[in-house]
């Protein structure tokens, strides 16, 4: 029965990614929350897995641009030198 899937620790693990990513329906979320309220090991696994994903996002700075020399060589290799500087012609 689908309703009972998250009563086991193993069953919960299978939905862990979806749960963390917010891709799980309300009823399934409720089942997981009920389980981890009573199962300390799973509560820790859920919390620390979520934290792991958070840390990955936090340590990954999307603003990190391309180093200038790497960019220069790329544009040269692609014969795009004249587009290298955004200055108007």
């Amino acid at each position: 029965m689908a309703e009972s899937t998250h009563e086991t620790c193993e069953g919960l693990l299978g939905s862990l990614s979806d749960y963390i990513d917010g891709d799980l329906g309300a009823e399934l979320c409720r089942q997981i929350e009920k389980h981890i309220a009573e199962c300390e090991d799973c509560r820790i696994v859920v919390d620390t897995t979520r934290k792991t994903v958070d840390l990955v996002h936090a340590s990954n700075d999307p603003q990190t641009g391309l180093p200038d020399d790497v960019r220069d060589r790329l544009y040269k290799r692609l014969n795009l030198d004249d587009y290298l500087k955004p200055s108007a012609k």
């Binding site: 620390t48 792991t52 994903v53 999307p62 391309l66 790329l74 290799r77 795009l80």
Partner: protein, 202 residues
């Protein structure tokens, strides 16, 4: 964020060989491609090779690009293939195909139950903590790491990750879960030790 730039780039112009348009494409996507290369290969020289080869290949294959996937997904797919070629130079057994993951029910069972999630943020994100995370990511098996990088680092959807790697979405989900659980185990060892030390230091 990156995806929004896509609106301004005309696939039609790209296909017709418009160099200004191509320069715009390079400008928009070179940084994420380079970062992906760095994460996949772990060194700057190889990442730069991936970056250059990706756009050279894109230039060659643009006329055949049908626009069924987004340009970014298409570029990522080229970059992943370029990176795999470099990886295989060193270890020919690198394989990210579907076939090596037949036992989908074989979960990675958690063994570490240290409750480190409540540690303060500045301790979790210390430079040493970031280093531990980087090492743990680098140590993921290749077939899990590619999925993890595209989904959790490059922020692609499950579907785009599947398209990029030619995997099924179900397979991507299985690998993503394994990768996350493996990282969690590694970080649990690391932060568990730190919590022990702090306790013993009073």
């Amino acid at each position: 964020m990156v995806e929004s730039i896509i609106q301004d780039i005309s696939i039609e112009s790209l296909r017709n060989g418009d160099r200004a348009e191509f320069a715009q494409l390079v400008d928009a996507y070179s940084a994420p491609i380079y970062r992906l290369g760095l994460r996949m290969l772990g060194n700057e020289q190889d990442a730069e090779d991936v970056l250059q080869n990706t756009f050279l290949s894109a230039l060659t294959h643009l006329p055949a690009f049908e626009g069924r996937s987004s340009v970014l997904t298409w570029l990522y797919r080229i970059a992943v293939n370029e990176a795999l070629m470099i990886l295989r130079r060193g270890k020919p057994e690198v394989n990210i195909d579907d076939t090596d993951l037949s036992d989908d029910n074989d979960q990675i069972s958690p063994t570490q139950f240290v409750d480190w999630g409540a540690l303060p943020e500045d301790e979790l994100l210390s430079s040493e903590g970031k280093q531990a995370l980087d090492t743990a990511i680098q140590n993921l098996p290749e077939n899990l790491r590619m999925v993890f990088l595209l989904r959790d680092i490059q922020d692609l959807s499950i579907k785009d990750t599947a398209d990029t790697l030619n995997l099924t979405e179900a397979n991507v989900k299985v690998r993503l879960l394994r990768a996350r659980l493996l990282l969690r185990e590694q970080l649990s060892y690391y932060y568990g030790e730190r919590m022990m030390k702090e306790k013993s230091n009073g």
